[in-house]
Amino acid sequence: MAIAKVCGLETEYGIMVVGAENNPVAASGLLINAYMDRIGRSTGFDASEEHPEFDARQIHEPSVLHLDPDPDLDLLPVNTMLVNGSRYYVDHAHPELSTPEVRSAFEAVRWDRAGEEILRRSMDAARSMLPPGAEIIVHKNNSDGKGNSYGCHENYLIARDIPFGRVVSGVMAHFVSRQVMCGAGKVGCEQPGAAYDSVAFQISQRADFFEEEVGLETTVRRPIVNTRDEPHCDAERFRRLHVIAGDANMSETATFMKVATTAMVLAAIEDGAASAIPVLAHPVRAIRTISHDPSLRSTVELIDGTMVTALDLQWQIFEVADAWFREHGGDAVGPGVAELALTQWQSLLDGLGANREVVADRVDWVAKERLITAYAERHGLGPTAPRLRAIDLQYHDLRPGRCLADRVGLQRMTTDDDVAAAVHDPPESTRAYFRGRCLEKFADDVIAANWDSIVLDTGSDPLRRISMPEPLRGTADLVANVIDASSTAAELVQRLGS
């Protein structure tokens, strides 16, 4: 039976300083420190057990890959866990926020939004630390239009005993074609070797940057299926599927659908119910072909030689998910998720196949394309004109009043109050609850925190490390009473009996 699809999102934000020196590493550090200063906290992240070089294909060759292309970039380590269970840090030359691990796509949307709000508050806090008139601008996008990309990654808990090859063949067609619902849209082309204006507008921000089908890399020769095997939990029982083939979304529906549909496909794979998912002959070519054709008419080849459109692929994957839900129920993906996601999936595919305008309130690339097309028409601008590129960029601008995504009528799934609460509160459904509550209540006694452990100073040697190898332990149901009843970290440790 499929295991609970505990999941999370990690977003690297675009960053730019105007009116002062534009050093993205220093600006990212300043942004995060300004936020931590404002909320009056600082807690070290314990990275001693991080192993991004471990490969799910069991080819552990740490010397071969992932040397940082520019060692100077990591000189300013800023890395912290927040009271809502998130991790906020400088990655390469970007501020990155990883949401807490959550139990459902509904929560993923809410804590992803909370992440945006944290970046927004950080920009505000940073203003007082910059020269007058200078500001740090943050974009929730994935490319600068000049061939440089940075990611929005997803993570899903999957069972260790499922052969990784089966996971790869099950998810590939979805990662290639889900962009029709979840692409964030982009003016121009950044595919290596192609002219910028060879594509006027494309569906995905990221598709141009994928060069391999499967692999361990994340910064060069990016693979559609990433094999990083670093579960941040009990490695005997679990994997964390690290997904790098997605766009950062401004539309809440798009974030919801990206997470919910992927979680369902993974659950179907675990339940042995995914054999009908089509297999592509050339996934890398296909992800670009689909992205480069907003008319959605282009076809891509399956291994049996059949030519299909992206919508054909999505309908077939929808049928697999729908059949999985009818046979197995939707428990693995969280309460109410499968029901809503299947209804929305059908509605979006219907809309994309007919009158596309009806999905402009839910699909980022359609909303952006519609705005850009209308603006170009009104002002008589040619494809990829600078003002159209500015609209593209500013769709993702997180500054209040500047963000165009806020103005195009996207449907909401959260309220502002939900989001504001999630800036402070951890989700109740996973171990993130225990982490966040400890950071909030015993701030002075938390020496270090990471995804699967927390180190407390109980006032007597030695320091106590509390392990959290099981993502569904440490929930509000299991530990709220213990935390509420403890007034010090020492009491907490005593009550936990560790």
Binding site: E12, G14, I15, M16, N22, P24, P69, D70, L73, D91, H92, A93, H94, E96, S143, D144, G145, K146, N148, S149, Y150, G151, H153, T218, T219, I244, D350, G351, A354, N355, E357, V358, A360, D361, R370, L371, A374, Y375, E377, R378, H379, G380, P386, R387, R389, A390, I391, L393, Q394, G401, R402, L404, R407, V408, G409
Partner: protein
């Protein structure tokens, strides 16, 4: 002036398309086109003043 003329033409065309599309249960195309026009009216005030320079200077380091 040229923009204004173009805008009116745009509106007239929309007037001919008042009927909601069969695929839409939620909103009519007229409503959303009106909203789009309103946005186009105000977008130049929201857009970075020197769009060309802004786009040119927007350079990021590659990430993951």
């Amino acid at each position: 002036m040229a923009e204004r003329t173009q805008r009116q033409r745009h509106d007239e065309r929309d007037d001919d398309e008042v009927a909601p599309s069969p695929a839409s249960g939620e909103r009519t195309s007229l409503t959303s086109s009106d909203e789009l026009d309103d946005l186009l009216d105000e977008i130049d005030e929201v857009l970075e003043h020197n769009a060309e320079e802004f786009v040119r200077s927007y350079v990021q380091k590659g990430g993951q």
